[in-house]
Symmetry: C2
Subunit: 572 residues, 2 copies
């Protein structure tokens, strides 16, 4: 009896410990507070000295590390002198906090110089995400960083590794954002062109030949190649994010295979690649094992794909400890894949499927299908990018406030078209600008409805050119139902949709002359951008706005107000 009691006591004790631990685990969700000062700083990220936007002096900005369920609180003080700022938390769905999405013109009035604004949101899902400016062309000036969200203690990833590493990929221009914006908004149009450098973790190497050392100094330690130091035999999870303004990239580590395991915060059915294609706005985790000759270093490289490159490849050192991390590998850096091997890119896109055991099944049918024809246009002589011949503009009054408060005159109440005679459009002919218009109109989606988006690529205004566009959706993840070449056929191609194990993502490429089909549930009350993540394309109209369930949105913080027609709510 005593023995039984003792055993029962012991079981009770164990139970108590377990319950305590569980409570402890649940209570682990906590507030993580950050204080950020945004300022211009002289940086020589690729050896060429120019002003970059920095967070607490850093370009790229600091990583936000949190645990699933944490509340992130970021106090952002704008010290940019005359320039406003807004920061988007890319991949964070902002469920219940659509006003914290950080998108100028949509969710908030930009933060003016001297002001402090507080972003507050929950990271409700583990994975690799990013943040970046969502104001004008400000992202291009270096305002970006990573968000890594870990699983709660005691919950494991479905793959194992020894160490976690972060890799931010970006491209870098020497022009100021004001020069670029002026060129893009001018007649004659001046395209931003290919970037001067590709950066890995904020470091590139521009050739300084012919430039004064005060302008460009190849020996500046700021532009030493970044290094990824590894221990032989260990496996690393590389969390890779692309924050490029323009470039689609291929990432690879010389002689090391990579296993793709995560995309945009979702587990991928693992597959092995020699090079990872990554488009602006995407994140991936890959596993790589340091299983090569540990007596030397290896190259990590990125090169431009999808556009004819005019930028040297970016390099970093995959450094086997204890070799000096500055010791260059004895080989030439691998050149990477051909820029125009579209087939290889499409194949990799298709290879990304949801991991078995983690599949979220999409609804079988959509309630609505929106076909978005991607074209370039001229409107009143200005070069623009358009969807269904509509080049979209954002108002100076945040749409979330305008819609929630039933304001009139902020945006065009006539909805943009769900299609534009896509069945008869010749995607291989030079865009002829028929009926091109610019508009502030938005798509209003029935709450909880299922929406399919068919992104249809086409020829630009230059013969035989079709660009790739990385499309990013705010506030939601979507299922990637398929990729195709040529013209989408509404009756035939829908049959090929992957409804079995589609990956969920927030950013997806649209390949040249191809189509990409997505499905999502409009189940997050708010107003959300869906746009090409190439900054110049977005700036010139390649965006649409989805509204859904705004009547369910709670009180928008007053700090989101103040600009445009929201001044009408001022009552002194």
């Amino acid at each position: 009896m005593v023995g039984i009691l003792r055993i029962l006591s012991f079981i009770l004790l164990l139970t108590c410990i377990f319950v305590s631990l569980s409570v402890g685990l649940a209570a682990a969700a906590r507030d993580r507070k950050f204080t950020w000062e945004i300022s211009y700083q002289h940086k020589s990220l690729d050896c060429y000295k120019k002003l970059a936007v920095a967070i607490n002096g850093l370009t790229p900005g600091p990583t936000i590390s949190a645990e699933q369920g944490d509340r992130i609180i970021v106090n952002v003080t704008n010290n940019l002198f005359m320039e406003n700022v807004a920061i988007h938390w890319h991949g964070i769905r902002q469920r219940g906090t659509p006003w914290s999405d950080g998108t100028d013109g949509v969710s908030q009035c930009a933060i003016m110089p001297g002001e402090t604004y507080t972003y507050e949101f929950v990271v409700d899902r583990a994975g690799t995400f990013m943040y970046h400016s969502h104001y004008g062309l400000q992202r291009e000036a270096g305002l970006y960083g990573l968000i890594t969200v870990s699983l709660p203690v005691g919950v494991s990833e479905p793959f194992s590794y020894d160490f976690d590493r972060e890799i931010i990929l970006s491209d870098w221009y020497h022009n100021t954002t004001y020069e670029t914006a002026t060129d893009l908004a001018s007649i004659p149009f001046l395209w931003v062109g290919e970037p001067q450098s590709l950066l890995i973790n904020g470091r590139g190497n521009y050739s300084c030949s012919g430039l004064a050392a005060s302008v460009c100094n190849s020996t500046n330690p700021e532009c030493l190649p970044s290094n990824l130091t590894v221990i032989s035999g260990k496996t690393y999870r590389l969390r890779i994010a692309s924050l490029t303004s323009l470039s689609a990239l291929s990432f690879q580590i010389e002689d090391h295979e990579m296993t793709v395991v995560e995309a945009d915060g979702h587990y991928v059915e693992p597959f092995v690649v020699n090079n990872l294609y990554i488009y602006s706005g995407e994140t991936y985790s890959v596993l790589v094992t340091a299983n090569q000759n540990s007596s030397r270093n290896y190259w990590t490289t990125i090169n431009v794909v999808s556009r004819q490159p005019n930028t040297p490849n970016g390099i970093a050192i995959f450094n086997y400890d204890p070799i000096d991390y500055q010791k260059l590998p004895p080989t030439n850096p691998p050149p990477g894949p051909l820029w125009n091997d579209t087939k290889s890119q499409v194949n990799q896109s298709r290879a990304i499927k949801a991991r078995q055991g983690f599949i979220v099944t999409p609804p079988k049918k959509p309630d609505r299908v929106i076909v978005l024809l991607n074209t370039q246009n001229t409107i009143d002589g200005y070069v623009r990018w358009s969807l269904n011949n509509v080049s979209h503009t954002l108002p100076s009054t945040p749409l979330l406030i305008a819609i929630k408060e039933n304001m009139t005159g902020v945006f065009d109440p006539n909805p943009p078209p769900d299609d534009n005679d896509s069945a008869n459009y010749d995607i291989y002919s030079v865009a002829n600008n028929t009926n091109s218009v610019s508009s502030s109109s938005i798509y209003r989606l029935q709450f909880n409805s299922t929406v399919d988006i068919i992104l249809q690529n086409a020829n630009t205004m230059t013969a035989n050119v079709s660009e790739s566009h990385p499309w990013h959706l705010h506030g939601h993840d979507f299922w990637v139902l398929g990729y195709g070449e040529g013209k989408f056929n509404l009756s035939r191609d829908t049959e090929t949709y992957n409804l079995a194990d589609p990956i969920m993502k927030n950013t997806v490429p649209l390949h040249p002359y191809g189509w990409t089909a997505l499905r999502f549930k409009a189940d997050n009350p708010g107003v959300w951008l869906f746009h090409c993540h190439i900054e110049a394309h977005f700036f010139l109209g390649m965006l649409v706005v989805f509204e859904s369930g705004v009547e369910q949105v709670g009180d928008i913080p007053l700090s989101n107000y103040g600009c445009g027609q929201t001044k009408s709510f001022i009552k002194p």
Copy 2:
């Protein structure tokens, strides 16, 4: 009898005509509406290509021409992409419209990109004025122009001339305003340095040697010398304004004397000069007669004074019609006076007196005397400029709104000092930064009181250097009571004040190691800046704020709200 009636009828008729004309004259005061789009444009003002801020494509901006009593209505649309804007109407007192003063941090929230703001004010006094950005360092980027206000029809100036001409003087930097601001706000401090060029009506000539033609092209017609074409024998009124960021200038026309007749909108007792000293923020009218050899052209030049120059003199062509305006004069441009001939500068300052018949007599005694010791300081390692060892900052909430609405927490309620032991301060010793602080405190002046300001210059933080500072008062004109060398003596020097015929001005120089004494009546309800018009000095704290009679200020337009703590008035 019939004859008498006829005569009476005729007199009546004449009277009626006269009354009608008078009514007509009174009714001539009218609204003058302007629609301005502010944008960045590529300009080559001195042959070097850089972005300038333009109004409707123009840098400098268009002249506002009006008649005394007119209401000026300027709809300003900000198309600066990510940068805000505010425009100050320099010399316009804004009586009854203090919210239209265009000063960020004082009278309004800056205009955000995409927004349109309407400035509305009466030009109640004839004369030559100017407008310019009053936001960050934006003036330096070229956002400025002239305001000329003519007398009502039938009222004559007390001098005669044949034609009216406008001359805008400025200096020009190749750095962006963001680079300059970053340098000024950094540790280590990086001074903006002397300008690359001096501009006359927006044209300078930088040496392009060694630079690519795409960057700097000496044959660009944008940077041809500007020309002032005259007809032999005619007299010209030159309305000259200095919009420099930094430089004090001497202006002269080779072999032509000038008669000074107006300063800051007030008639000057005429005096003749070979060169006109003009400080940033000042306007003058001078009369010049084309009485030289009409078979050649002459140089118009500007050169830097008060600072050791490192900038080539600015040139323009004083062109005798019908000679080709591009034909260079056969002589070398006159070099202008020595930069450090302070005595000559002080003498010219002293020569500027109110014109007989137009003297406004100042009150005999002040109600309050504020001594402002001008120094350079370091505060927490940052280089600042200070008054009485207080380096002033402006809040992100406009002070006019904060005070009128009794908001707390916007500015330091403890007033700054009216003096700082000036009797014992050694103005010839290097500033030692004792007790230097930065503060948002303001001076509150009793309404309708008479205030004397003694500007006392001193040594900077560099041995044997005392700068000149052009001080500008918003909302008022002041009487210039005197200039002196060395330390001001409160008992002795007040006896030397010119109370007989002091000129009224809104901007006045403080010469190196000297003092300048001013008097004004605080009779304009509002909140008003008084500051050094050197943009970098203002940016780094060389300003004070005067509040007076805000309780009499009418309703501030809601469009002035929206930033900082004015968001607390938002009631959705």
